[in-house]
């Protein structure tokens, strides 16, 4: 058999030798999303070379203000992180002229990512069928709170809502006694990562078949699956053999362990590692204790296992244990606060932090992409865009003249900061 990866013509065009900014060089993404889930997905596409056009309403992405203070008050720290490498155009989508601009941009796009509800999409001619009518090779990704076909579909969804209904807060209740959110916008951030997978799978399918692709990514179902992959526990069996939960992970003693002068993280999972840990803490007799000798034994007696470990490590310093455990090949690392990360020597070695200039905010801190890939990544990183920063550039690309642009600005069809 031979792979028929079809030649794709039209605007998405690139040549293999031209993947200069990574595997997605030459692909254009229209991004109508706001806050975190969509923006983190499209930023990843931008990091690997896609030309991501962030299409904002004249008032701008809510995250510009919702994610913390800044010098200009127009670009929160979280907004800056989630929107690097994109261009921004700010359009009144409800105006006929705004609609026309979008339709012209759609003809040049490879992908569109939206997180509006279906009626709003239809009204703006951004639903899959309408978009296909102007671009029959489009990859159309809808991010939604709850999947179509289920009764919650169309309900509004924000991160904490999904954490609460989707089982993330429940993990904290099981481990700590009361429902709490994970103190990250974890549902949004996770689903954003998953959306990238779906978009790249669709791109593969389009590269092979040449056909348009429709994607739906519901936050709720993704989070439930993420949680239950880990914590279905004994309900993985029918009939259930017991209750949900991986007791080892939910065990309250599973935590950074206090030493005499700080915290340390230790993870002795294999028999070899656990036996070495028992040596290190001066309890070699546990190696032949049926409760702790084997993986299954330690799993069944996890509270006692972790508790013995935690008691013992309290006696000496972090440095003492790090040295000893390293010698014995027991996985261990010191605990880092958020502030510590900025002084971490390994991160320094790999050039993790660097600087970038932002027109409003001055010098901002940039993190490198953590992963390396033969095909490379975007060469010249751009800071997150100002609202409408690229109005002129983008409109010129689709043939809107300067005079017309001025007129559109005057009438409020396009806006900028």
């Amino acid at each position: 058999m031979n792979v028929n990866v079809k030649k794709i013509d039209g605007s998405s065009a690139l040549r293999s030798a031209e993947l200069a900014d990574g595997p997605l060089t030459g692909l254009r993404v229209l991004d109508f999303t706001t806050v975190v889930v969509g923006p983190v997905a499209t930023r990843t596409l931008a990091d690997y070379g896609a030309d991501v056009i962030k299409i904002e309403a004249p008032e701008g992405d809510l995250l510009r203000k919702l994610g913390g203070a800044s010098r200009s008050s127009a670009n929160s720290p979280k907004f800056l992180q989630m929107n690097g490498n994109k261009r921004s155009i700010a359009i009144d989508l409800k105006s006929p002229e705004g609609q026309e601009i979008v339709q012209n941009l759609l003809k040049t796009a490879d992908m569109i990512v939206v997180n509006m509800r279906q009626p709003a999409l239809v009204k703006l001619n951004l639903d899959y069928e309408s978009v296909c009518a102007v671009n029959d090779k489009i990859i159309h990704c809808t991010l939604t709170g709850y999947g179509s076909g289920g009764r919650y579909h169309g309900r509004p969804a924000y991160d904490t809502i999904i954490q609460g209904v989707g089982g993330l807060a429940a993990c904290n209740e099981r481990a700590g006694g009361e429902p709490r959110f994970v103190p990250l916008v974890l549902a949004d951030h996770l689903v954003g990562l998953i959306a990238v997978q779906m978009i790249l799978l669709a791109l593969r399918a389009r590269d092979v078949s040449g056909e348009a692709q429709k994607i739906e990514v519901p936050m709720y179902e993704n989070v439930v699956r993420f949680v239950l992959e880990e914590h279905m526990g004994q309900m993985a069996f029918e009939p259930a053999r017991g209750k949900t939960g991986d007791v080892r992970v939910l065990e309250p003693h599973s935590r950074p362990v206090q030493t005499s002068d700080g915290y340390i993280c230790v993870s002795a999972n294999t028999d070899k590692q656990a036996h070495a840990l028992f040596e290190a803490i001066g309890r070699p007799e546990l190696k032949t204790d049926a409760r702790f000798a084997t993986v299954s034994g330690r799993y069944s007696n996890v509270a006692e296992y972790f508790s013995i470990r935690n008691e013992a490590l309290r006696e000496k310093s972090t440095q003492h244990w790090m040295k000893l455990l390293e010698e014995l090949d027991v996985p261990a690392m010191p605990y880092n606060t958020l502030e510590d990360l900025f002084n971490d020597p390994h991160l320094e070695d790999v050039g993790f932090f660097s600087q970038l200039e932002h027109p409003d905010e001055g010098t901002i801190r940039r993190m490198r992409l953590p992963n390396t890939l033969s095909a490379g990544e975007r060469r010249n990183p751009m800071p997150a865009p100002r609202l409408g920063e690229h109005n002129a550039a983008i409109l010129s690309e689709i043939g809107v003249g300067l005079e017309e642009q001025a007129d559109l600005a005057e009438r409020g069809v396009i806006a900028s900061q």
Copy 2:
């Protein structure tokens, strides 16, 4: 310009019309990984059609026992979730015959995913250069704890270690006062999702260029970036304008809110939503209170904002608030425990849970893929494999006869449960 997505020949072969099991139909993945981070990545590839061959040591993936009890004790619930749709071959990689089998399999593969350290890889001829020597179109993905080029490279890494050193436990310290892990194997699970992105980006590059691709995915750097994208806070600026952390997300009052008979999750972010919430709780005067009238105002006074909300909601039932907030278009959902998820009507509507037969465990519970994609997904889901379940099938495919297979089994080169 025209896209030159090159024809790929050899074993990876498929025709466009033959993407019957999703976009990765016809691609073969050799998976040498264990526990969570690798397996969750390759399972995703398998879900979308790749032929994932899980290559286990004769003692099997540690997660078979580390992830909870089961009827047979050989397939923990977590193992079952992370390894569906794969085939297993159990080989002694250190034996010359085992090496030969792997080399023959490599010739037929599109991708290889490993999480061994570099010296072990070299010893087994599984490092990038060695693999390229037998297959110059391979996509080679190494999952590592800490990136090469930094001083922690080569150190062992498990989920809790990375949570502790990488800032996830630190988020809990900031929100709750003491370092705690998120009660999920979150670092592993996250990085597994990210690895899929990298593999699919590399596949795109290979489809375009026809060239082999090398990927490195370090857990530590990925987790640090994930955490700091959210919580770099005022250290996003140089010089720093203050400390790390998105105070809104770290705020202790940001939690599922107690009602008179349970919990509810409410997220009023825009002015319209917040003002409607103030109406709902009988505090319309807050709409014009400078502290709470705007997004920025509420961000700066988040503790008080959440605290007023939490106090008010305690007075009436979850059902009362759900009805009222829905009428006012304020995003809200009830809180679900892990057990509740199995009775959730929306999940029932979308056919989220179904059943599958496992040879050792009997009937097991399966979750559907949350996302939909025009190009489809694997049609016939398979349960996670028994150890060495597909020894015979896979060896036959590379021309090892039945007699030779029996001999290999006798000498312990291949193993099965």
